[in-house]
Assembly symmetry: C2
Homo-oligomer: 227 residues x 2
Amino acid sequence: MYVTLDLACDSSEAETPEITTASNFRLAQHRSFRLASGRRLFLEGDEAENIYEVKSGLLRLTRVLENGRRQVISFALPGDFVGFPDNGTHHTDCDVIVNAKIVAHRRAALENRSVDPELHGRLLQAALREISAMQDHFMMLSCKSASEKLASFLLVMADRLGRPNGRHRSVELAMRRADIADFLGLTIETVSRTMTQLRKSGAIRLETAHRIVVLDEVALRAAAQPD
Amino acid sequence: MYVTLDLACDSSEAETPEITTASNFRLAQHRSFRLASGRRLFLEGDEAENIYEVKSGLLRLTRVLENGRRQVISFALPGDFVGFPDNGTHHTDCDVIVNAKIVAHRRAALENRSVDPELHGRLLQAALREISAMQDHFMMLSCKSASEKLASFLLVMADRLGRPNGRHRSVELAMRRADIADFLGLTIETVSRTMTQLRKSGAIRLETAHRIVVLDEVALRAAAQPD
DNA sequence: CGTAAGATTGAATGGCCTCAAGGACAGTGG
DNA sequence: CCACTGTCCTTGAGGCCATTCAATCTTACG
């Protein structure tokens, strides 16, 4: 049914198996590699052989409905884990948006503590954090208006990967408008319109379509809150 | 800030500590009790001392936004676990809708495998199933119309707690319309209107406002699918 | 029987979507 | 260097679905 990509093959263009951490002696369950923008890490339905730790870059987790309607479940940033299985299979597609450095951990590390107790603990905490983050996302999806959604999204992204830019902070939103729309449960047109609305209000500035400068964080926070 | 309810005190009206499973000898980390409809199991922000296993009844997990807008994260049925912590605290409110029999497990059983390896594994699988179930819920919330949402909901509930009723299956939806609405990201009015719409189409019948008979499962399935 | 809470139904508004066109930008080849 | 092309983003106009506001009906229970 589904084609499971072979890691060794898939990362052919930039394979750099960096087994660097001195603390890890079990080579077989710790594989680092790079994956270029546009490549796919796994598909919904794939057998979950690994859980992946994002070291750099940006990944996107999506699910599609039969008719093509799509939901972006989450964006994975450095420090995040992706690929938590259920019944041994992946339940989302995972694509690379920005060239990523990824560490593959064997699934057994999650299910069997003895493989690597320290990693097992980290995976467990990551899974619990994931549950909590998804609950936040629920509030976003069904309790907030379009402008509240986008403002909240910009704040979270600015917080997680914003960088100083003059007296302000700017954030590179590498994903497409369509990704943001499907993440927030909106259309690209509404995302675009809301973005200009926030721009015209003076809360943000768009250096490019993807580089956003937060001019007035207070105003942005106000826009993110109900009322 | 938050008032943490004392279990021993809270279940005063029907406390029945049933330590029944022969396989479990560590009394301290296995406490069974009953909790009546309307009672609260824990609140958002409470320190997560326990994880709870639902043996019977119906629980509701909710989160509220500052201004009062509410989201029902999930309904917990027998066999479900509730109260997965993040950073050691609960991130939802948990209320009893139908008198419930509950088993409290110490949080340590989740974080420390050695406490009870068998339970640890079950908790882990439950957490992974939870992540997957929440992803389903995402699709529901942002990809489906009101009638698709309600039809999907009825199918899931009929599947999980439906009982034979003549030639059909009926299901007791003990929760209020407001709960269903906040679960699906709709208003009570829309839930009500959509319910009558499904009734008039012949897909379901309402014995009472809460007891639904699935007359035409094929039609209900069709209504749940996009297109 | 009376009251209150919940559920249903109706009418009108509005926020977001759909459909459609135009603009910005990068890559390509002449 | 500059059309050419494709992809993505923005903007506009109109329509629809779900909401809001409000009234009525039903149910539970003292």
